[in-house]
């Protein structure tokens, strides 16, 4: 395959190169695109790079944080502002992958990847494109295969209060392995009851997803074993977990309540 590489100084220029060419792909850290090149993927023939420093920035904005799409997992681990995301970044690959893999790239990672995206889903993430348009992450994921081609410039997330955000990546290989299921939870409490819960999974479907059945069951519940029992019973309602080399659909269904319980009660 003959590939051409085009490098642009700004994300706007890179976005315009992408929008006019269906055979072009944007490359952030390379962990998805170079993998495709190495596998002989014939679906694209142009790699677009951008050296725009804005893609690498993390900026607090009130009670939210703006993370450039080119921010790596290693950068997240070095940021005090993003300390609540450290367990998530640490769950992604080994040190070499973390030096390369970006937040923006994670939004496009195919099953079974996308641990960071599951976390972003519960952090009220808005995806901002290079043209300035903003989309809720759940909508972005639903449309990511058929959207007009553009470039993700940054994501905006809510900064959680202490103890509200919980994350767990379940893998059969220790200390690191591909996710069997990843669970992210945003469980604020008011008067000892959960209010406004957001729950997301990755590795449980074609893209990371919110889990409305669990969120509804948690509403008004106490965060203890009895309180979350109906949420656990609804752990896979409306979900068709995939069968792959990591686990069968049946197995994912069986263990989902166990890991959801551990996430909610142990963090």
């Amino acid at each position: 395959m003959s590939i051409s590489v085009k490098t642009f100084a700004s994300s706007a220029e890179a976005a315009s190169a992408l929008s006019g060419d269906r055979a072009a792909r944007f490359m952030g850290g390379g962990t998805l695109i170079m993998r495709a090149v190495n596998e002989g993927d014939q679906s694209f023939n142009t790699i677009v790079l951008a050296s725009d420093p804005a893609l690498k920035q993390v900026q607090p904005q009130g009670d939210r944080l703006i993370i450039g799409a080119g921010v790596t997992m290693t950068q997240i681990l070095a940021s005090r502002d993003l300390d609540f995301l450290h367990p998530v970044a640490r769950a992604v690959g080994g040190p070499a992958i973390r030096n390369m893999a970006t937040v923006g790239g994670n939004l496009f990672a195919a099953h079974p990847y996308g641990d960071m995206t599951a976390a972003l889903l519960v952090l009220d993430c808005q995806v901002t494109l290079a043209g300035g348009q903003s989309t809720a992450l759940a909508d972005f994921l639903r449309d990511r295969e058929r959207e007009p081609r553009s470039l993700v410039a940054s994501v905006s997330i809510a900064r959680p209060q202490r103890g509200v955000f919980k994350f767990r990546k379940v893998s059969r290989v220790k200390p690191k392995g591909v996710s069997l299921m990843t669970i992210a939870a945003w469980v604020p409490q008011s008067g000892g009851r959960v209010s406004g819960a957001r729950i997301a999974y990755s590795s449980m479907g074609p893209t990371p997803m919110r889990v409305p059945a669990v969120e509804q069951a948690l509403e008004g519940a106490a965060l203890d074993e009895t309180g979350i029992s109906s949420a656990l019973a609804a752990a896979t309602n409306g979900i068709e977990p995939p069968t792959d080399s990591i686990a069968s659909s049946w197995y994912r269904r069986e263990v989902a309540p166990v890991h959801l319980k551990r996430t909610l009660l142990e963090g």
Binding site: M1, S2, I3, S4, V5, M27, G29, G30, T31, M34, R35, V37, N38, E39, I47, L49, T74, G93, G94, P95, A96, I97, N99, M100, P175, K176
Partner: protein, 161 residues
């Protein structure tokens, strides 16, 4: 397919090569400049056998677009030994039988070097984390972990090369 000129340093020596559009760094290191120490394992970022240091940080050379290393400083296992004397990490790997088939060793050594350069006296957990992206199908990892801890005790992290 066009060729682009790229210049970088590898183990302290300046290298200038022409790379193909889309060519990965591993290919350039092995076929372009003849450093056979990084290995092609999976080509997918799963095994870590191609790990090299770019500006001191571990990267997977098979997933690195070659032209992006313009002006950067690369280190590979090929540059660890100095004047016929093994690097303390290589010596520890030998004494602890941390290599069997040896295919993962160069990636393991670079992952370990990146750790010790930053954390000269790591805990066992830090060693396990540092090599968590490198797969070994022979040793069961224990001799590798012991070798890295031993090398740290012998000052491998305080040596500059």
């Amino acid at each position: 397919m066009s060729k682009k000129p790229v210049q970088f340093t590898l183990n302290g020596e300046t290298k200038a090569v022409f790379v193909d559009d889309g060519q990965n760094l591993l290919d350039v290191l092995r076929r372009g400049v003849g450093d056979l120490s990084p290995k092609y394992g999976c080509g997918q970022g799963t095994c870590g056998a191609c790990t090299v240091l770019i500006d001191g940080e571990p990267h997977l050379s098979c997933l690195t677009l070659a032209e992006t290393v313009e002006g950067r400083a690369l280190s590979s296992t090929g540059g660890l030994a100095q004047g016929g004397e093994l690097h303390p990490l290589q010596d520890a790997f030998m004494r602890h039988f941390a290599a069997q088939c040896g295919f993962c060793s160069c990636g393991m050594l670079m992952a370990a070097k990146a750790l010790l350069d930053r954390t000269p006296n790591p805990s066992r957990d830090e060693v396990v984390e540092a090599i968590s992206g490198n797969i070994c199908r022979c040793t069961g990892y224990e001799p590798i972990i012991e070798a890295i801890l031993d090398a740290a005790q012998n000052g491998a992290g305080r040596r500059s090369a």
